[in-house]
Symmetry: C2
Subunit: 465 residues, 2 copies
């Protein structure tokens, strides 16, 4: 008999009640309460909701119980059971077991025991931590959020673009790229040129830090409205709860859109994906609200229902200076906003998500549109109460000469960016886009406070596992 | 006035006819046919369908025409036009221009001129080739296929997993991994150990060739049913129309499923995504049918409507031996099926997509379930008429000892696979999965015969652009 997903037994119970069903799963808890034995199993189709299997001890011989049932009571054992699904006041539904068999044993060396384990310990067993409520919940919310991203852009006519991971240009110019090579560790060449000539690509290559330049080339290169959603890489040596060397990045690029239109799109997008996950992962978000961040659901509801505010950077500085608040970092025109500043603006002054617009150009990247004041660029960060920046957004500089000047001022090697510059030469158009760090979004939506726990196998400085 | 997508003017013309609309786009063709001037533009929201702008020369002064309209007639110029949308027998709808302005000029050095350009030439200008019908079509079909992949798995309760790109294990054991490092090209160490100890991760690291091992760990590690969809990498030096160094890979992994169930899933999946793209990209597929592969639509219809066949590898060998056909490569039990063999089976014998099941174990990977005959593994390739293998599929070996033996026989370093082996120790379950090379699927669905043309920025041996 084919097995049925446990999620279906709960969701469509009317289809299965009082009928025979077969289920598979891993043992989460078990208890012997004479004359009954209870085993709770999970098969991955639900996060924290387990199916209770009920065994009547008196219906089996002692010998059979000992040889067939007893070994199933250990945490982590995988099993298959057939029985009648019955209604249960406490659990919704339960399975009255008729036959049950072990699929895979789980010896007592199993590292996930009943005692509470720390997240730090769980990170050392990434391959098994997906059996915990925390990771199951995180992975399900992450998956649904990713689908919401794809749905939003597809419904709105964006083309999903697979931009290359291996690249020769450093979009952010931060020099924190990983190098990709097939040369052995002890390859010996006299010159750098010779080394790279003999490498796989015949030139220097590294892992992309952002897909934006390719995204711009595709959009202005004729596709009009595109988005990328893939892994990007930073070889930063930061060992913080917010940094991983490999993270997933969402980057739309929209032709014929100015800064105001991309702000509208950003707001619409964030509300859409949060609303979607609230509708489709309510069980998982309730778990997060209860165990990870009290008030999480209120926070998300607030984002979905508030009209995001906008403030000019210059006005934001004034608000901070007039706040009467003593900040650790000094506030002056030209300063980068620190967490404490952002927090004051979103949590106390505006009390809702906030776009800070028109930052001083020296704080921002070369590709952002230079405003007429000569001092600022048409760039904005969306700051959200409780976490700070969630997307970074800008209109792009479309004027060839201004762009070249900005690159030259930053000592960027123009010869590596000829194709990018071409897009400003052949039918240049106004265009804007934003970048969303997907892993940080998952942190925000789940209340998980360490990025290592929103990816099953995070990559960080000095750690492959 | 905000601009409207050209696709909407065609699709929902009743909402716009006889009203004023504004459009933006790049000039695809233009013609002066006194007393009219016609300009066809494309904004990326349609692939090959352009919007015709109609200008009445007599309504403008000669001077104005010369200074404002003439410069718009060059290929590649970007412009913005406002006017009344009218019905047109030839084009469906057209725009009677009231005002028009240049957004970005396009000098005569523009490499995409009207004369027919070769695909080889277009590959040298990846950033501009998205303005051609071919690439627009390819990118739109690719994007929709990707969305269909996500939709299929989401609707069927799979968790989308972001597995790491940077890894220390070589799933296929083929040794064709790129190395990832932050060591400079001329780093000098006495020992390999010292070199890697001082590298970013403190150990050797490379780019993933397959997400399967992580996928298995996640599925058996508690998530039950997962899929991955991300880039994978092979440092092969093959310079063929089917090889790129960086390609996108779809890999589901399903617990509690045997080889027969994963075959059913594979068939269902392929039919779903092809049906989806036929429904949502009919304009694009008609273009492909007309210009890239005559009979493409028939081919796809056939796949969607036929019941896929199944044959045991051993029987397939017999069929080939009894075919009376002279093959270039000899046919014998134990031989790998060559293109000519696959072609005979799918195109001539079975005349429909075909799963060849139970391959000799020496032809296949260590992780596949060893059948009781001691000679074969529960692996299957789905062969499709006209292209050959499209997915590779297997039940996985769940027995710890058998798995270790298979790895040892292949000289694999067991110490690198301890976590993977753990999944066979702690609640091991039957599980199966498959791998689909997404780029080759796009080739199959579009009829494009070079993989370099289904990715905007392909990465191949000796070529970053």
């Amino acid at each position: 008999m084919k097995h049925t997903d446990i999620s279906k037994l709960f969701q469509n119970s009317e289809d299965y009640l009082d009928r025979e069903v077969t289920v598979c799963g891993w043992v989460r808890t078990s208890a012997e309460v004479k004359p009954m034995t209870f085993i709770q199993i999970n098969d991955g189709t639900t996060s924290t909701k387990n199916l209770q299997l009920t065994i009547h001890q008196e219906r089996i011989s002692d010998e059979e119980y000992k040889s067939n049932i007893k070994p199933l009571l250990s945490l982590g054992v995988s099993l298959k059971a057939t029985g009648i699904l019955i209604a249960s006041e406490r659990n919704g539904v339960e399975l009255e077991v008729e036959t049950i068999e072990m699929l895979g044993d789980c010896p007592s060396t199993y590292p996930l025991q009943k005692k509470k384990t720390s997240v730090e310990f769980l990170r050392t067993i990434p391959h098994l931590r997906t059996r915990t409520n925390l990771m199951k919940t995180a992975m399900m919310i992450r998956s649904r959020l990713a689908y919401a991203v794809h749905s939003y852009f597809t419904q709105n006519g964006y083309i999903y673009l697979h931009t290359p991971i291996i690249t020769d240009s450093d979009c952010e110019g931060a020099g924190e790229m990983f190098r990709v090579t097939t040369q052995p560790w002890n390859a010996s060449y006299n010159t750098e040129e010779e080394y790279f000539e003999n490498d796989y690509f015949g030139q220097k290559a590294g892992l992309s830090v952002s897909c934006q330049l390719e995204g711009e080339m595709a959009a202005v290169g004729g596709l009009g409205r595109i988005y990328t959603f893939g892994p990007t890489f930073r070889a930063e040596k930061s060992d913080t709860p917010k940094h991983v060397a490999e993270f997933w990045h969402v980057e739309p690029e929209v032709c014929f859109a100015d800064i105001n239109e991309i702000i509208e799109i950003g707001e619409d997008f964030i509300k859409y994906i949060i609303r979607d996950v609230m509708e489709n992962c309510s069980e998982q978000l309730s778990f997060c609200d209860k165990f990870l961040e009290k008030g999480l659901l209120d926070k998300l509801n607030h984002v979905v229902n508030s009209e995001f505010a906008r403030v000019d950077y210059t006005d934001a500085i004034e608000i901070l200076q007039n706040s009467g608040r003593k900040f650790e970092y000094p506030v002056f025109w030209g300063c980068d906003l620190q967490t404490e500043h952002e927090k004051y603006l979103t949590d106390e002054h505006f009390k809702r998500p906030l776009f800070v617009v028109n930052y001083p150009k020296d704080l921002k990247s070369f590709y952002m549109k230079q405003n007429d004041d000569g001092k600022t660029v048409a760039a904005t960060d969306l700051l959200v109460p409780g976490i700070g920046e969630i997307i970074g957004c800008s209109e792009r500089e479309t004027d060839y000469d201004k762009l070249v000047n900005a690159m030259t001022a930053r000592n960027m090697p123009l010869e590596n960016y000829q194709k990018y510059l071409d897009t400003r030469k052949y039918g240049s158009v106004q265009h804007s886009g934003f970048g969303l760090g997907f892993d940080r979004l998952v942190m925000y939506v789940t209340g998980i406070n360490n990025i290592r726990d929103v990816l099953q196998f995070p990559r960080t400085y000095q750690h492959i596992y």
